[in-house]
């Protein structure tokens, strides 16, 4: 018997693996490319920004290069009161989301309106841009408000900073915290289609993810689903206590404490004495103290604020 070269086998192997990849990668790609973004998908994409996992723009997942979501109650240029409107502020140098860089992924209909009426192609990274959602004949599209209304990032941020801090949301940076801290190892972002409606809310629709990266569905649900947590519980105070030490509000919780996200200083600029807090908490736990120690209020630019903003954005 001669030395075998396995020519037929090698070809069949190429055919088998290539055919498999054709069916499992190429064919679904056509379906995914045809998915038009839902309103929820547009909001999630522009809230989170370009990337909330690792990227060269935010290599240590500190929440760099992320947009702000601002609720405006007056026209920032004229000062005229108006119905509250949520806008997405991409300050100078912030990478635009995938839907602006490649409008095709917004989906048929939305793409054309966003480019022609919304002028999203005119947005410039080195000048920054403010985006909002608009509707035309029942179809939602993205509007580059800097181009259409002259709402520059400077004008919008001046108006936002003059208003209440709670109208500014750092949900994009918060989603980065969600990824970095591994929240998604236990909390899914995917109510299941079969049985989760009553408790965790509606399962996502097929167009809810356009432009989102990472989707971070999670696979192991050791804890409640969070896709609609902001609708179930919109108390920032509860979130604050729960993140600092979950056992303060839910004695049986097995969630880790996230007190280290508070940073060095609290809302009043005072240094937080974590050791003292933990000692007092241990005294409370062993019964030598009646009430648990107070949880320090988080500062405006702390990582926990970003994370709570993200929780609040999950409607």
């Amino acid at each position: 018997m001669a030395f075998r070269e396995y020519k037929l086998g090698a070809r069949m192997f190429g055919l088998a693996l290539g055919g498999s990849m054709c069916i499992t990668l190429l064919l679904p790609a056509f379906d995914f490319a045809a998915v038009a973004s839902t309103d929820m998908g547009l909001d999630k994409q522009f809230t989170a920004g370009h990337e909330t996992g690792f990227s060269l723009d935010d290599p240590f997942l500190l929440g760099w290069n992320k947009p702000l979501k601002v609720t405006l109650k007056a026209d920032p240029v004229t000062g005229q009161p108006m119905e509250a409107k949520e806008v997405y502020v991409y300050q100078k140098g912030t990478t635009f989301p995938a839907g602006v860089l490649h409008p095709r992924i917004l989906g048929k209909g939305i793409e054309e309106l966003s480019v022609q009426k919304g002028k999203i192609s005119e947005a410039k990274k080195d000048a920054g841009a403010v985006f909002g959602l608009a509707k035309d004949g029942g179809v939602s599209y993205v509007e580059n408000l800097t181009a259409t209304k002259g709402w520059t990032t400077a004008v919008v941020m001046a108006a936002a900073n003059a208003g209440k801090d709670e109208d500014i949301s750092h949900a994009g940076a918060g989603k980065t915290m969600f990824v970095r801290e591994g929240c998604w190892w236990c909390h899914t972002l995917l109510p299941e289609q079969t049985q989760d409606w009553q408790v965790f809310g509606a399962p996502p629709m097929i167009g809810d993810f356009n432009g989102e990266s990472p989707t971070a569905f999670g696979s192991d649900r050791k804890a409640p689903d969070l896709l609609h947590v902001g609708s179930r519980n919109s108390s920032r105070e509860w979130m604050m206590l729960h993140f600092f030490n979950p056992r303060l509000v839910q004695p049986h919780s097995i969630m880790p404490r996230f007190d280290y996200l508070w940073g060095e200083k609290d809302a009043n600029g005072q240094k937080i004495d974590f050791d003292k807090w933990r000692t007092e908490y241990d005294q409370y736990r062993n019964g030598s103290r009646v009430t648990p120690p107070d949880v320090p209020a988080y500062s405006k630019n702390s990582e926990i604020r970003y994370l709570v903003d993200y929780m609040m954005s999950l409607k």
Partner: protein, 468 residues
């Protein structure tokens, strides 16, 4: 081993690379299971070591997963390839030097990647959590050099045909490189949305299906005939196994997302293909068990055979679960519960680990020409792995069924957490037992290299009587 890194290839003793890979694998196994035990403790006792991000569950969980998959399992695979591929080709390893450098680069890359993951630098994609520069490193410095070494050894073989094990080795090293490059496309080119979600699970499914499962099985195709002296029961069933792995195991990626809004045709297709994974599974299990014919006493008497056959037997419940739990009828109940965690450990810590442990035990004794230092420690290792794993698997399966019931009957979530608590403690105890067993193994293997009875040329280690 390190002294040979800059030696001439022909001056490096045969088997040096395999020894480096093998000991690295055992060390990663100790690290990986130690982290697993620590993580399990945190799920049972959430205030155990707290207030520091580096000991937070969310920072450590993925380090455990990647240490065992890419440290222990994959380096044990590398070890097996370094000594089995040339043995089956009746030749020498193509390049011992490349093998040594490959193991070094593997350890460096994995350490770097794990430190980044520990610090929270993650792509946010399960199983492909490594940031993309690390993914590229894995392909260029870890997977492709291994691929080249295995392929060149197979091409330079001095046998007419290629034995079953080497089909699997050669195809798996190729496929894992393709899987890494394709599965990480969302990170390389910033693909988003459903494409990203689907490719995440395409990667996760195929890294298990085209790397871990076939290579583990290939090892059993070597160890059982080699140690028992029986020829493989059927090469035709081996053919069936090989081709059905390539065709059926590479296609059901979407069954990991049965509850996500993917196209329905894709989910149905994946689910049917998922059941068809039973074809390679049954082919493999029957082929190995029939090869044991007349040598079943070795299942009791021989450590390597006992490890291998235990792993093969665990492939039965593994594939019965795997084939059916992804159908819609069952998936809605157990998806996202501890059942899946138990199943994943049955695949990696049950089926796969037992096969690789046998290959590492056998290979290190054969290459070092030293008989295992202590059979008692070897037996303790076996039983601690088996009892620890079984405790883990049973407790997590029960916890998963509780979670499933809680999900279906819409029980307030915290009641599920309370009900799971005893099983979390059992899981921690089981995991800790596995960890302690591995520490014993590392000691036993170290002492084997130092003080094991010398095995004469041309003899198998199990042909010698134990002196201790």
């Amino acid at each position: 081993m390190l002294k040979y890194l800059f030696a001439k290839n022909e001056d490096i003793p045969a088997g040096s690379a395999a020894v480096f890979w093998g000991f690295s694998a055992i060390v990663w196994f100790v690290i990986g299971t130690g982290l697993g035990s620590f993580n399990a403790a945190k799920l049972a006792f959430p205030d155990f070591v707290t207030g520091n991000e580096f000991f937070a569950f969310g920072h450590m969980r993925q380090v455990h997963v990647h240490a065992v998959i890419f440290g222990w399992i994959s380096m044990a695979f590398g070890m097996a390839m370094m000594y089995i591929t040339p043995a089956l080709g009746n030749t020498k390893l193509w390049s011992e030097k490349l093998g040594l450098w490959n193991a070094l680069m593997w350890n460096i890359g994995l350490s770097l990647g794990l430190v980044l993951l520990w610090a929270g630098v993650s792509s946010g994609r399960e199983y492909s959590d490594f940031p993309w520069p690390i993914d590229l490193y894995i392909v260029v410095f870890m997977a492709v050099p291994l691929c080249i070494n295995v392929w060149m050894t197979v091409i330079n073989r001095r046998t007419q045909g290629i034995y079953t094990t080497n089909w699997f080795f050669a195809s798996a090293v190729f496929m894992v490189s393709i899987v890494f490059l394709t599965g990480n496309l969302p990170e390389f080119f910033h693909l988003t949305g459903l494409t990203e979600a689907y490719l995440t699970w395409w990667f996760a499914h195929n890294v298990l299906g085209l790397w871990i499962t076939p290579v583990a099985a290939a090892i059993a195709y070597y160890t059982i005939p080699k140690v028992t002296g029986n020829p493989l029961y059927s090469h035709r069933i081996g053919h069936l196994h090989f081709w059905s792995v390539v065709v059926f195991y590479s296609t059901p990626a979407a069954h990991h997302l049965m509850s996500a809004p993917l196209p329905e045709w894709l989910k149905s297709f994946a689910s049917v293909e998922g059941v068809l994974i039973l074809v390679p599974a049954i082919a493999f299990v029957s082929n190995i068990l029939l090869t044991m014919s007349g040598k079943w006493y070795m299942f009791v008497e021989n450590l390597e055979v006992r490890f291998t056959i235990t792993g093969v037997l665990m492939a039965i419940p593994l594939n019965m679960q795997g084939g059916f739990q992804q159908t819609r009828a069952i998936n809605w109940y157990i998806h996202g519960t501890g059942w899946i965690v138990a199943h994943a450990h049955l695949a990696l810590l049950g089926f796969s680990t037992f096969l690789e442990a046998a290959a590492v035990y056998l290979g290190l004794q054969m290459i070092l020409k030293r008989k295992l230092y202590s059979l008692t420690l070897g037996n303790m290792h076996f039983w601690m792995l088996l009892i620890g794993f079984t405790t883990y698997w049973v407790s997590m399966t029960i916890a998963g069924l509780i979670q499933g019931a809680g999900k279906i009957y819409e029980v307030p979530y915290i009641d599920v957490v309370i009900a799971e608590h005893p099983y979390m403690i059992a899981r921690w105890l089981g995991g800790t037992m596995v960890f302690v067993g591995n520490v014993l193994w590392l000691y036993n293997m170290w002492m084997t290299a130092r003080q094991g009875t010398v095995v004469p040329e041309g003899r198998m280690p199990h042909e010698l009587a134990y002196e201790r």
